[in-house]
C-alpha cells in the first residue's frame, strides 16, 4: 500500500460511506471459528461460484452474539438485512437459494438481536 496522506484518509472516509448492497458477512473471530464458521465461509464461497451469484462474501469479527455462532449477516437488494445464527453448511446453501436467489427469508434461524 502507498503511504497515506491526511487527504487520502479524508477521501476514503468520505467516499466509502455507503456500502454497496449484496454482501454476506461471516463472523470469523475465535468464537465463530470454534463453532464452525470456517466451513460455512468455504461453503458460501464455493456455492456462490457454482451458482454464479452476484454477491460478495466477507470475513468479519465478532458481533457479540457468541451463543448463536456461526453468524451470517445477509444484505441483498430489496430484502431487510438480517442475521442468521447457528448456521451450518446446509443452512448456508439454503440462505443462497432462498434468501439471495428467491428473495424470501428463512424461517427459524434469524436472530433479531441488538448489534448496533
Amino acid at each position: 500500500m502507498d503511504k497515506l496522506t491526511p487527504e487520502a484518509i479524508d477521501r476514503i472516509f468520505k467516499q466509502n460511506r455507503q456500502q454497496s448492497a449484496n454482501w454476506i458477512k461471516v463472523g470469523m473471530s475465535t468464537c465463530g471459528i470454534a463453532a464452525g464458521a470456517d466451513e460455512v465461509y468455504a461453503t458460501l464461497v464455493e456455492e456462490i461460484k457454482k451458482r454464479n451469484i452476484q454477491v460478495t462474501v466477507k470475513k468479519c469479527g465478532c458481533l457479540g452474539m457468541c451463543h448463536a455462532e456461526p453468524l451470517v449477516e445477509v444484505c441483498v437488494d430489496g430484502m431487510p438485512t438480517v442475521i442468521y445464527g447457528r448456521v451450518n453448511k446446509e443452512i448456508a446453501v439454503k440462505i443462497l437459494d432462498k434468501h439471495v436467489n428467491s428473495k424470501a427469508l428463512l424461517n427459524d434461524y434469524i436472530f433479531d438481536l441488538e448489534t448496533k
Binding site: K25, K59, G78
Partner: protein, 579 residues
C-alpha cells in the same frame, strides 16, 4: 419484492410454543387477503425480547408489538399492509446497548485497513497529530472522563499526564492485552474484530506522552488476535501510519508485539513490564509507578485494549459525545462478556449506569434453564459475587465496589440456583493460588491456607471458627500483599460469605450443600419403589459401585461411589435420588 416483512416469535416461557400455529394462521390470512406478494411473515429463532408473549416486528419500520392476543395478529398484518402503526399496541423499545468499543466488530473486515478508514478510522489520529498538541489530547481525555477499562478505573488522562511531565530521553507505551480473567474475552474480540482501532488508540497515547516505542503485550493463547494485530501493524507501517514521521508530522512510533506465556499475574503492570524486559513476571512495589519509572526504568504508559479503542473513538467523535454517555463519575460504555447460566452468552456493550438486571434479563434473556438467578459474579478472581437482591444496582466503578465486587475487565458470570457459593469461592481462590507468583508471603501462604479451609467447608469437615479464620487471613492478604492479585484474591470468598453466610453454615453445621454441588456432601441412592430394574445405572457406573442383578434389584455402595451423578442422569424412571 415484499413491501413488508413481519418477524414472528412466541417469547413466553411456557413450554408450549405457539409460534408455528400463529405462523400458519398468518399465512392463511395473507392468502385470504391476497397479500402474499406484499408481506412475508418469518419465524425467527430469537426476537431479542423475552417473556413478552407473542412478538411481531414489522420491517423495515422496525415497529415492535409484544404480548399480542390471538385477535391482534391479523390487525398487525392489516396495519402493515396499510403502512400504518397501531398506536397503543406498538412498543417503543429504547436500545439497551451503545456500541463504542465494538463499533466495528462484526461489521468490517478486520484485515482491511481501508474498511477501517471508511468508518472514520485514523481520522482521529490525523486530527491529533495535525491539529492538537499533546497537552490538548490529554485535555480531551480529561473532558471525556475516560477511565481505565482494565479494572481499577484509574483516569486515563492522569496516567498520560504523569508520564508526559517526566523528562526522559525515551518513553514507552504498552497495550495490555493479557486478558486472564476466567470467562472474559472482550479484549480478544476487539483485537480480532477491529485491530486498527486499538493500534490507533495506542498511537494517540504515544503522541500524547511523547513515546517513540510501543508494545502490544498479548497472551500467546490468542493466536488469531496476534495474527490480526501483526497484520494490522504491517499495514499501518506500509501506509505510513506507523514508523517515521507519521502522516508527515514530526512524530514517529514503532510498534512491536510481545507474547505473554499465560501467567495471570502478568496482567499486573509491573509484572507485565518485567515480562517484556525478559525477566520473571513478578510484580514490584509501587510507587514509583510505571508512568514515572516503567519499562527499562523509563516512563511508561500501560493501557488496556478497551481503553485504547475508546481513545480512538473520543478523538474521532469528540469528548462531549463520549461524556454524554454514562454516569457522573463513570463515563462512556463498558463491554461485558456475559457467560455462565445465561441464555444469550456473548458480548454486550452497555452505557455505564445500566442495571445488572437489564443486562442479565433484557439483553441476556435470563437463565438458560429457566431457573431463578442466584447471583452475578463480576471482576473475575479479583471481584466478588453480587446477590440477586442487588441486581438493580446501577453499574459503575463505585457502585460495584460498594457491593464488594469490582468492575474488573468485564467478565460477568451469571449463576442460578444450582451453583454453590462455597464451590464458586473455592474455584476463584484456587485460580489465584495457582497463579500466585510466590514472591510475597501473604499471597503465597495466605491463599493456600484459605483454600485448605474452603476445601474443608466443601467436604463437611469445617468448624464454625473456620469462618473467622477465613476473614482474618483475608484481611492480612488485602493489607499486606504486594500486588493486586493478592490484595483482591480474597474478594470472592469475602463477598460470598457476606451475602450467603447461611449457605456456608449449612455446609459446616448440617453437612449439606443446598445447591447439591459439593459432591462430598451429597449421596446417591436408588429408590427401590420406582426402580424398574433395567440395569442402566449399573452399566453406566464408571466405578462399579452398583452391584445387583435384574432379578434382585440394585443398590449403590456408598464407599465405592465417586458421586459423579451418572446414574441419576441415565435413569429413565427417576429412581435415583440425590440428597
Amino acid at each position: 419484492m415484499f413491501k413488508k416483512t413481519i418477524l414472528l416469535k412466541d417469547t413466553s416461557f411456557s413450554p408450549e410454543d405457539k409460534t408455528r400455529d400463529v405462523f400458519t394462521r398468518c399465512l392463511d390470512y395473507l392468502r385470504e387477503k391476497q397479500l402474499e406478494q406484499d408481506i412475508q411473515v418469518v419465524r425467527v429463532a430469537d426476537s431479542g425480547v423475552y417473556g413478552q408473549g407473542l412478538v411481531m416486528k414489522v420491517l423495515p419500520d422496525a415497529t415492535l408489538y409484544v404480548n399480542l392476543k390471538d385477535e391482534d395478529v391479523t390487525r398487525v398484518i392489516d396495519a402493515a399492509a396499510q403502512n400504518k402503526t397501531i398506536e397503543g399496541l406498538a412498543l417503543k423499545k429504547a436500545p439497551k446497548q451503545i456500541r463504542i468499543v465494538l463499533r466495528n466488530c462484526g461489521k468490517i473486515d478486520p484485515e482491511s485497513l481501508e474498511e477501517y478508514i471508511a468508518t472514520g478510522g485514523y481520522v482521529g489520529l490525523k486530527k491529533a497529530l495535525l491539529e492538537l498538541t499533546p497537552d490538548k489530547v490529554i485535555e480531551e481525555m480529561k473532558k471525556a472522563g475516560l477511565r481505565g477499562r482494565g479494572g481499577a478505573g484509574y483516569p486515563t488522562w492522569m496516567k498520560w499526564k504523569f508520564a508526559r511531565q517526566v523528562v526522559a530521553d525515551q518513553k514507552f507505551v504498552i497495550c495490555n492485552a493479557d486478558e486472564g480473567d476466567p470467562g472474559a474475552y472482550m479484549d480478544r474480540s476487539v483485537l480480532e474484530g477491529d485491530p486498527h482501532s486499538v493500534i490507533e488508540g495506542l498511537i494517540i497515547a504515544a503522541y500524547a506522552v511523547g513515546a517513540s516505542k510501543g508494545y502490544f503485550y498479548i497472551r500467546a493463547e490468542y493466536p488469531l488476535a496476534v495474527e490480526r494485530i501483526q497484520k494490522a501493524i504491517d499495514q499501518a507501517n506500509a501506509a505510513g501510519l506507523l514508523g517515521k514521521n507519521i502522516l508527515g508530522s514530526a512524530f514517529s512510533l514503532d510498534l512491536e508485539i510481545r507474547l505473554g506465556a499465560g501467567a495471570f499475574v502478568c496482567g499486573e503492570e509491573t509484572a507485565l513490564i518485567a515480562s517484556i524486559e525478559g525477566r520473571r513476571g513478578t510484580p514490584r512495589p509501587r510507587p514509583p509507578y510505571p508512568s514515572v519509572k516503567g519499562l527499562w526504568d523509563k516512563p511508561t504508559v500501560i493501557n488496556n485494549v478497551e481503553t485504547l479503542s475508546n481513545v480512538s473513538f473520543i478523538l474521532l467523535k469528540g469528548s462531549e459525545q463520549f461524556a454524554s454517555i454514562g454516569t457522573e463519575k463513570s463515563k462512556g460504555t463498558k463491554v461485558f462478556a456475559v457467560t455462565g447460566k445465561v441464555k444469550n452468552s456473548g458480548l454486550v456493550e452497555v452505557p455505564m449506569g445500566i442495571t445488572l438486571r437489564e443486562i442479565v434479563y433484557d439483553i441476556g434473556g435470563g437463565t438458560i434453564s429457566g431457573k431463578a438467578v442466584k447471583a452475578v459474579q463480576t471482576g473475575g478472581p479479583s471481584g466478588g459475587v453480587i446477590p440477586v437482591d442487588a441486581l438493580d444496582t446501577q453499574v459503575d466503578y463505585e457502585n460495584l465496589q460498594k457491593l464488594g465486587s469490582i468492575m474488573g475487565s468485564g467478565g460477568m458470570i451469571v449463576m442460578d440456583e444450582e451453583d454453590c457459593m462455597v464451590d464458586i469461592a473455592k474455584f476463584y481462590l484456587g485460580f489465584c493460588v495457582d497463579e500466585s507468583c510466590g514472591k510475597c508471603a501473604p499471597c503465597r501462604i495466605g491463599g493456600y491456607q484459605m483454600l485448605e479451609v474452603l476445601k474443608r467447608v466443601a467436604n463437611g469437615q469445617a468448624k464454625l471458627e473456620d469462618m473467622t479464620v477465613l476473614r482474618r487471613i483475608s484481611q492480612a492478604m488485602q493489607k499486606a500483599s504486594l500486588c493486586g492479585l493478592g490484595q483482591t484474591a480474597a474478594n470472592p470468598v469475602l463477598s460470598t460469605m457476606k451475602y450467603f453466610e447461611s449457605e456456608y453454615k449449612q455446609h459446616i453445621e448440617n453437612k449439606k450443600c443446598p445447591a447439591g454441588k459439593c459432591s462430598a456432601l451429597s449421596n446417591y441412592a436408588i429408590i427401590q419403589e420406582k426402580c424398574k430394574r433395567c440395569s442402566l445405572c449399573q452399566k453406566n457406573c464408571p466405578v462399579e459401585a452398583i452391584p445387583g442383578s435384574r432379578e434382585d434389584g440394585f443398590t449403590i455402595v456408598q464407599e465405592k461411589c465417586i458421586k459423579c451423578g451418572r446414574c441419576l442422569e441415565v435413569c429413565k424412571f427417576k429412581a435415583v435420588s440425590k440428597t
